[in-house]
């Protein structure tokens, strides 16, 4: 670990025809951290990860992963990284053990070490009962644990996980994150992509991607405290009417529904935002509780992706 960052990229860009899937992304990802890519579908998470793994050539810009240039030095890099693809990519028609043994052979683990690792991982990821089951017949959670076992079999320094929990129930997701923290404690750097806020919240640091561009970056706490708007929480019987009323206020930049409540982002330079909003709602005869709250990650997300939409600087 001579290089200061596990991953460094400068203006990393990838175009598919006229579509810019990844747009000048500059990253500095430190070692032994869980680093998140947060973004909706199509925001370029997978494409960025593929470029960092050396599977796609950048159209522009460059990246250094574990001190190696990609894609030029990708072959040397391969034994040092693990990659869990978004779509399950082990063999449906092989059993759990056969899959793991195969991956071990492909990474040239010596026979004895291979058996030992496979045994360890079967136990660690609670696959002992599925050892001889075909991967294709397993549940989403089981497959995901198998995929993680396969990606970590050769003990990579750096792990890429592309939306690892998308087909998994909440309990399995929690367990999965426990496994990630364990790996991270052991020194593994983890880059994980997600579109779940609660998962992003768990990362040490994260990058928010929007239509290929990196729109915000930093630890979740810092992102939340540095939000450029005031966040108001509105609870009302008539949420729909309240929403319509809020949308008419100029200073309200956006309104989003979070369960039974609304979150409104208000321009920071508006004085007394609570009173202003309350007055408007009263005027419409809407009974509501309005309260200034700390920004959540969801608010940050809305804030940064909105800003980009309205900014005229986009080429």
């Amino acid at each position: 670990m001579d290089e200061p960052y596990a991953i460094e990229s400068n203006d990393l860009t990838r175009r598919f025809g006229t579509l810019t899937a990844v747009d000048h992304v500059t990253l500095r990802i430190p070692h032994a951290q869980i680093y998140g890519f947060l973004g909706p579908n199509g925001s370029g998470k997978s494409t960025t990860i593929r470029m960092l793994c050396g599977l796609l050539a950048p159209s522009e810009g460059n990246a250094t992963v574990l001190g190696l240039q990609v894609p030029k030095q990708a072959e040397i890099l391969r034994s040092k990284i693990g990659y869990m693809t978004q779509k399950f990519s082990l063999y449906d028609d092989l059993t759990v053990r056969e899959n793991l043994e195969f991956i071990g052979e492909v990474y040239s683990l010596p026979r004895h070490r291979r058996h030992q690792r496979v045994g360890e991982l079967l136990e660690r990821y609670d696959l002992g009962d599925q050892t001889d089951q075909y991967a294709g017949t397993m549940s989403g959670g089981q497959r995901q644990r198998l995929a993680l076992a396969a990606a970590t079999l050769h003990e990579p320094e750096l792990l890429f996980l592309d939306e690892p929990t998308s087909a998994v129930d909440p309990q399995s997701r929690r367990d999965f994150w426990e496994s990630l923290f364990a790996l991270c404690d052991a020194g593994t750097t983890i880059l994980v992509s997600t579109h779940y806020m609660d998962e992003a919240e768990r990362c040490h640091s994260l990058a928010i991607l929007d239509r290929g561009a990196l729109v915000a970056e930093g630890p979740p706490r810092k992102l939340k405290s540095e939000i450029s708007e005031t966040v108001l929480e509105i609870e009302a019987e008539q949420l729909r009417a309240a929403r319509t009323a809020l949308d008419r206020i100029d200073a309200v930049e956006s309104v989003a529904q979070l369960g039974p409540r609304l979150h409104a982002l208000i321009e920071a330079d508006l004085e007394h935002p609570e009173q202003t909003v309350r007055a408007v709602l009263d005027e419409q005869g809407i009974e509501a509780r309005v309260e200034k709250v700390e920004a959540g990650l969801e608010d940050v997300f809305v804030s940064v992706t909105r800003r980009r939409e309205t900014s005229p600087a986009r080429p």
């Binding site: 793994c53 599977l55 991956i103 492909v106």
Partner: protein
């Protein structure tokens, strides 16, 4: 209620998708065109320009005229002159000629006599179409014999001796080539599909992230199929010799050597297809496009000699052409691999070229 408009909606959607799927559309147009031109070219039961060698032991003016007349009929092309019947038979066996013209020393006397045939045609009978054309030469008129012919009840000029398949059973001719046809279909398809399937199912994205090298991936993919191919060869040989009583005149080891060369060429072509095909279905379509000309132009169905030049050029590129020549030589004519081994050279070139192309086209990348 059955709704016509719903049905029409489905039909319109289907047609729209069909027109957008270029390969399928290509097949709809291409297969009839390909079949028609290939069949049109290749089906020619009246085979001409059979390669022939002459052993003219009489060496008279009349014998030379007879050979010239035979050639003028366009049934045979004389490619060589030898001295003995033995040499003719050797050239038949190694496949370099299909017809041997043997004019005996007492040719002139036989002409005068008129009750005996004047000369012999030694014909490779393993292909019934060739034999049939050669039979057309039997009554070729020879100077000074016409009158007597009538008197002696129409004695033929040539006696035709069919070698290798005297009973003229078609299965005898078909089965050795069938080994190649079966291998073409299965070997090309298996390898093409084997890689495309991994791409389709997403396995490849994982695999190319590992330290596996392209060459390891490719050889790992084809080696199991070599074994499968050899099992298929064994199966056809067993069924052919037990059920259809096809005589196996050559050495088994030679048959397997020839099959091995052919299997390798087919497998590497399958790999090449896999670098183009985006889905297993596409791989199957491309295989079919290769299979059709192979089966029609290789000499398996119609004799090579009867095909026009352009068809022969295509045939020379196809591995099946060379395999059919080798395998018929070994199984039906008892040729050794040494005698027909020259046909393995184009196979080796085909193998090396397609493999090199497949390797350069296959990158451990997604783009």
């Amino acid at each position: 209620m059955i709704s016509i408009s719903r049905g029409t909606a489905i039909a319109r959607k289907e047609l729209r998708q069909l027109l957008r799927d270029r390969l399928t559309f290509g097949m709809i147009i291409g297969i009839p065109l390909l079949q028609m031109t290939l069949f049109g070219y290749a089906i020619n039961t009246d085979v001409r320009h059979l390669r022939a060698a002459v052993a003219d032991q009489a060496g008279t003016q009349r014998s030379r005229m007879l050979v010239a007349d035979a050639e003028a009929s366009q049934v045979i092309d004389v490619v060589d002159h030898v001295d003995t019947a033995q040499q003719l038979r050797a050239r038949l066996r190694d496949g370099s000629i299909h017809v041997g013209v043997l004019i005996p020393r007492d040719f002139e006397r036989r002409i005068q006599d008129g009750s005996r045939v004047a000369a012999q045609l030694l014909v490779d009978g393993s292909d019934p179409l060739i034999l049939q054309s050669a039979l057309g030469l039997r009554a070729l008129p020879v100077a000074g014999r016409e009158r007597r012919n009538r008197r002696f009840g129409g004695m033929q000029t040539f006696e035709v001796r069919a070698y290798y398949n005297p009973e003229r059973r078609s299965e005898v001719q078909i089965i050795p080539g069938l080994i190649g046809v079966i291998l073409t279909m299965t070997m090309v398809l298996f390898t093409a599909v084997a890689i495309v399937r991994e791409r389709e199912r997403g396995n490849l994205e994982l695999l190319i992230t590992t330290p596996v090298r392209t060459i390891e991936l490719m050889t790992g993919k084809i080696v199991p199929y070599i074994g499968i191919g050899l099992i298929q060869v064994t199966l056809v040989l067993l069924v052919g010799s037990i059920l259809f009583r096809v005589p196996i005149r050559g050495e088994l080891s030679d048959i397997y050597l020839a099959a091995l060369a052919f299997i390798m060429a087919s497998l590497s072509f399958g790999l090449l297809i896999s670098t183009f095909a985006r889905s297993q279905f596409q791989a199957a379509q491309m295989t079919l496009f290769f299979f059709l000309p192979s089966i029609l132009l290789s000499g398996f169905m119609f004799p090579y000699d009867g095909m026009p030049r352009p068809a022969q050029w295509i045939a020379e590129v196809l591995p099946l052409t060379h395999f059919v020549r080798m395998i018929r030589g070994i199984i039906l004519r008892g040729a050794s691999i040494g005698e027909v081994g020259a046909e393995a050279i184009p196979l080796a070139i085909f193998f090396a070229a397609t493999l090199a192309l497949a390797l350069t086209r296959f990158r451990k990348r997604l783009d």
